[in-house]
């Protein structure tokens, strides 16, 4: 692994100037390294962060990658990590024209990392440096506690995919003035409904009265309001003092770290540090998988726009054409995030350019009128920059995957069915409806389950977890192993409430096909059992 030479760096700097002129925004400093294929194989289990903490599962992955490479040698081409400064890796031996195109692609990725709101919690970190200090800390634990360090990492990782990433994100930029006065909050959220058992309507009326007072008299009004409450309900004051606000934890990993009786014991404090490292690492990577389509689409959009208007393309148009088609062509069967992302961005740009994102356009009834509508607003670029700042994959698909878009690109849902007579599996055009296509896309998006502790049922002797059912059951095979790890971290019994789906093969209608059953797993003393609820 070594830095690119001065000649190539000059090319990069030229690319930066042109990309900046088009409005892309990335830090002044970037680092580019040349790596061998072997380096990349070794880096990929560490999500390309060379300084990420060591863990045996990564080693297994590397060995597997070596094996794969023996049979399917591939040549990784370029990859970029979100750090300050941004670091990107390149393969040796690329000709200059190819590097120009790749640099544009990479610069657009960096622009995306540094401007998309889903990455906001990573904006102030030099993650490579953070990871290095984490790695050293873990190394020091490993020399003291041996393989138990790895067990703690393993158990923490078993729930690192369900960290409260969006809660962390919501806290960025959250104005503290948004929260009401604690006394007000207690009165309306707890005292009225819980202590006085007031009906909803009564609560609303009370709120109106409060709002009216505050609007009219400000702070004085609040004072008057509570003076009246206290005279009416003398118990209010003491109840408010006795009340300890129960704060919902951000996620299970954080909850265990802060509340586990086992981790609180003397000599176990170091485990908390590991839990924190695993959680922070997971949250760091969380936005990337949620913006895959948008990010790749964005990078493809810009490498195409910038390179085609670059005078250095002269003589390499055909080579570029072939390469670009390989990356961004729509697959006959299968999903290519580059292709879909690029086309969605182009589609949005076109909508905005023609002023179709307006009520004037939406009021049109006739298809011809819609097609020919062109207000020539010239807002295309502005809108797609807005898209890259504020959207995720889900929002992009959910908002813009319309019938017009699906028709424009001849998209369809592919179904798979067996043909027993021929002994083949057939792929067929299942639907060309936008609603179906959108559903298929959304279903294939990354979406981890929500599993949280039930604070009322959790005690020092029992960690009680609830899986919020969203139409999919948990992977059953993994439940006992994950619970075994949590049992270790909590130091006593672990229970999990979840929903199982039973398939009724004789069912005649689709509604009868799936039967839902709420079950409770209990893990204690290396034994797991399941009861129906």
């Amino acid at each position: 692994m070594y830095l690119i030479d001065q000649h190539t760096k000059q090319i990069m700097e030229d690319c930066k100037l042109r990309a900046k002129a088009q409005g892309l925004d990335f830090g002044h400093e970037t680092l580019e390294y040349i790596v061998s294929n072997k380096d990349l194989l070794e880096l990929s289990p560490k999500v390309m962060i060379p300084t990420l903490y060591d863990f045996w599962v990564h080693d297994i992955e590397v060995l597997k990658e070596y094996g794969k490479y023996k049979l399917y040698p591939s040549n990784p081409y370029e990859t970029v990590i979100n750090s300050r400064p941004a670091i990107s890796f390149y393969n040796d031996n690329n000709p200059d024209w190819m590097n120009i195109m790749i640099f544009y692609h990479v610069l657009a990725h960096i622009d995306f990392f540094q401007n998309n709101r889903l990455f906001e919690h990573t904006w102030n970190d030099d993650f490579v440096g953070v990871a290095l200090s984490d790695k050293r800390l873990i190394e020091s634990y490993r020399s003291r506690y041996g393989r138990w360090t790895d067990y703690v990492i393993e158990f923490a990782r078993s729930i690192d995919n369900i960290t409260g990433y969006f809660k962390t994100l919501a806290k960025c930029d959250y104005p503290s003035s948004m929260d009401p006065d604690p006394m007000v909050s207690y009165y309306f959220n707890h005292f009225l409904p819980e202590v006085l058992q007031s009906q909803e309507l009564a609560v609303f009326k009370e709120q109106e009265r409060y709002n009216a007072l505050v609007t009219k008299q400000g702070a004085l009004g609040v004072k008057a309001f509570f003076a009246e409450i206290i005279s009416k309900h003398p118990e209010f004051e003491s109840a408010f003092k006795a009340y300890v606000p129960q704060e919902q934890p951000a996620d299970l990993l954080e909850f265990i770290r802060d509340n586990s009786p086992f981790l609180k014991r003397d000599g176990n404090n170091w485990m908390k540090a590991i839990l924190t490292i695993v959680r922070n690492t997971a949250q760091y990577f969380a936005p990337q998988i949620r913006t895959k389509i948008l990010n790749e689409g964005w990078a493809s959009y810009w490498h195409d726009n910038l390179f085609r208007s670059d005078d250095r393309i002269v003589g390499h148009e055909v080579g570029y054409g072939v390469l670009n088609a390989g990356v961004t062509s729509l697959s006959r069967v299968g999903l290519n995030p580059y292709a879909i992302g690029l086309r969605l961005i182009q589609y949005v740009e076109d909508l905005a350019e023609k002023g179709k994102m307006s009520s004037d356009y939406q009021k049109l009834v006739l298809a011809d009128d819609q097609r020919n509508f062109n207000a020539a607003t010239g807002k295309g670029k502005e809108v797609i920059f807005n898209l890259r700042e504020n959207f995720s994959d889900f929002m992009l698909i959910n908002t813009f995957c319309t019938q017009e878009f699906v028709d424009q690109h001849d998209l369809f849902v592919v179904g798979k069915r067996p043909n027993p007579e021929e002994g083949t599996i057939e792929y067929y055009v299942k639907s060309r409806k936008a609603a179906d296509y959108k559903k298929m896309l959304i279903d294939s998006l990354y979406h981890p389950p929500v599993v949280m502790p039930d604070l009322n049922k959790t005690t020092d002797e029992c960690l009680y977890l609830v899986h919020q059912f969203e139409g999919k059951q948990l992977v059953q095979d993994f439940i006992p192993e994950v619970m075994a790890g949590l049992y270790f971290l909590w130091g006593s019994e672990v229970q999990l409430e979840t929903t199982e789906i039973h398939v009724n093969r004789e069912a005649e209608t689709e509604d009868e096909m799936f039967e839902l059953q709420r079950v409770l797993y209990t893990y204690s003393d290396k034994k797991i059992n399941k009861t129906k609820l």
Partner: protein
Amino acid sequence: MTKKEKHIPLLTPDEYIRREEEINERLRRKPALFDPDAQSHSLYFLNDWKVLPGYYAPNPDARLMLRTLEDLLEQDRKREADGFTRRIRLGKIVKPGKGKKSKVVIVPSTTEPKFYHDDSITDEDSTGGSGEGEEGEVIGKQKAQPQQGEGEGQGAGQGGGESHETGNDVYDLGKILTEKFQLPNVKPKGTKRSLSKITYDLTDRNRGFGQLLEKKATMRRIVETNIQLGNITPGEPIDTSKLIIGPDDLVYRIMSAEKDFENQAVVFFVRDYSGSMQGKPTEAIATQHLFIYSWLMYQYSNNVISRFIVHDTDAKEVSDFQQYYQLQVAGGTRVAPAFALVNKIIETEHLAREYNIYVFYGTDGDDWDSDGKELYAELMKLLPVVSRVGFTISKNSWTGENETTVEKNITQSGIVEKRRKEFRMDGFNADTVDEARIIESIKKLVSE
């Protein structure tokens, strides 16, 4: 990571053009990334360095890999003592090749258990597509049992075939199996036999005389001699009539004795391929037999001959593992003819004198020959000449825990007790069997 500083060299215009052409050629030849046979249609399958090509392929360092794998397996062993389940599995990746030559590499694999959504039940198997075609129109087909491009975990790869027999990976797998699962090492049979035999071949070279003139080597010597004599001047045409040929310049090949390693063991893999074996029972048997074969390859330093026999009501020999694994008929089941065939092969080829013989048999337990007398007779003939016969009963789900015909017959005959040294039998349910159970079963079959 390389510490050595390396920079891209500057190219001459010619080299530059050639490289451009190379790149374009490579781009053109690039296999379609998105064909229906692709591994995965998932959104997250493609990434920047998969879709963008290049042309530089260093070999991975195999030594590093082996050392690490052993450490990892050692660590995995300790998990049990610590009260956790073991997590490293041996998987294999199969690359289907032209004809029967598939490549297999053995890799370790592991899965990190987490709370994941299980899409398999509720989701229909669908993905995206683009282009022409009416709704309902079929746009592509795939073999129902796809040729495994990449398969991990258990089960013999269907692309299997000859490479199973020749590849180093089988040896590696045997080594890993022996070490990871502590399979026993083979004890040498009574008399010590020589590991090698002598053959004669025209391999040695001799100057001056011999059986066969080696023209190229001779020519080289003549040129050398004549350069020294000054008869050849570099850069000028050579006048061959002036060249002098010394007697020592003539290089010949002569007959010489060669040490050749002898195959030490013959292993017969025999299985029932009747209709009832279809699916899981066959898969379990094939996996087990592949593991056993690998273990023997390691034990005998690659000097193992394998023979494959399948039977329904009749027995026949097939030439390779692939056929052995894939053949399927709907016929009935008689076990005895298979062992009659084994006996016949041993007898006609005089194998008993030369080799350690192993016979492994896999069945779902069916036998139409309900009293098993014929089988007993064949087994009694076989047992004196073999090192081990191992029976595996891979039971179908409908058999449950009941004793199968084969098990009943064998038990009644008392072979298991009487010939414990040579005969072992083990049964499991093919539906629920996993790698650990298969290995345990191998231990039962091969242990002393």
